[in-house]
């Protein structure tokens, strides 16, 4: 039994199914304990591989995101006074160069 498990792990490693290989022991024990069928067993193995890949992908994306230390919204002070003022901003933007915006050079579908 142990030799077979070892061989399965080696094959998983060869086919880069590391999640499946790592969870093999638990999945086999679970299957033996609950007496689940081949279909359910195969499904559990594949699901463990998918979950492993998703976790790995998230870690990779999180690392390349380059987030600063304080980036958890759970500790963000939401009591701060917010003021949505798109109009104010647009008005300020218009002050840049009234003529440029007034004549609609940008966004006047020139590129279309």
């Amino acid at each position: 039994m142990e030799i077979q498990k070892q061989e399965i792990r080696q094959l998983c490693s060869k086919f880069m199914l590391t999640g499946m290989g790592a969870n093999l022991e638990d999945t086999v024990n679970d299957a033996e304990k609950n007496g689940i069928g081949f279909m359910q067993f195969t499904l559990q193995l594949l699901k463990s591989e998918v979950e492993h890949r998703q976790r790995k992908d998230e870690v990779k994306r999180m690392k390349s995101a380059g987030l600063p230390r304080s980036s958890d919204l759970a500790i963000y002070d939401a009591e701060k006074k917010w003021a949505k003022n798109r109009k104010t901003l647009a008005a300020e933007g218009a002050q840049l160069d009234g003529s440029v915006i007034q004549y609609g050079i940008n966004g006047s579908l020139r590129n279309r």
Partner: protein
């Protein structure tokens, strides 16, 4: 994000713009999106060196394929003319496929000064504000409020 909305977080220093933007970026990553948090300095460095440094070209390609890009502290310092043009071209390239979150403590009227070109500043704002939520954060700096000192009484 799926509707490609942008967000401009404005306000003085220490009001939590960066924290909020970073939190949104983290949540986007957790939700399965490709989201990146970069300072203006990093973006300018990438734009300046991408044609000579392979790793910066990889970074550039990564950023133009992103679902969300946070640009932290934009317009904090003046840009050279060629960099202002490169930055505008970059935004123009991604704004139809990427949600852009911007944090800034400069009003749009001051963007022109930083870019040394009113037309580029207006065109940049035009792209960013096309589909955008603007959040103006107010209040005192949390850093000054929680200022730490060496000499505890």
């Amino acid at each position: 994000m799926d509707q490609l909305f942008n967000m401009v977080l404005m306000g003085p220093c220490g009001t939590g713009k960066t924290h909020l933007a970073a939190g949104l970026c983290r949540d986007a990553v957790r939700a399965g999106y490709k989201a990146y948090f970069r300072s203006m300095d990093e973006i300018i460095n990438t734009l300046r060196t991408k044609d000579f440094v392979k790793s910066q070209m990889l970074e550039y390609n990564r950023l133009i394929k992103s679902n969300m890009l946070v640009l932290d502290d934009i317009m904090l310092f003046p840009l050279e003319k060629n960099m202002a043009v490169a930055f505008f071209n970059f935004i123009n390239h991604i704004y139809e496929s990427t949600s852009i979150v911007v944090t800034t403590n400069k009003k749009p009227t001051e963007w022109a000064k930083m870019l040394e070109d009113e037309v580029i500043a207006t065109a940049l704002l035009d792209r960013l504000l096309f589909k955008c939520e603007v959040v103006n954060l107010t209040g005192d700096s949390f850093r000054l409020q929680n200022r730490q000192t060496f000499f505890e009484s």
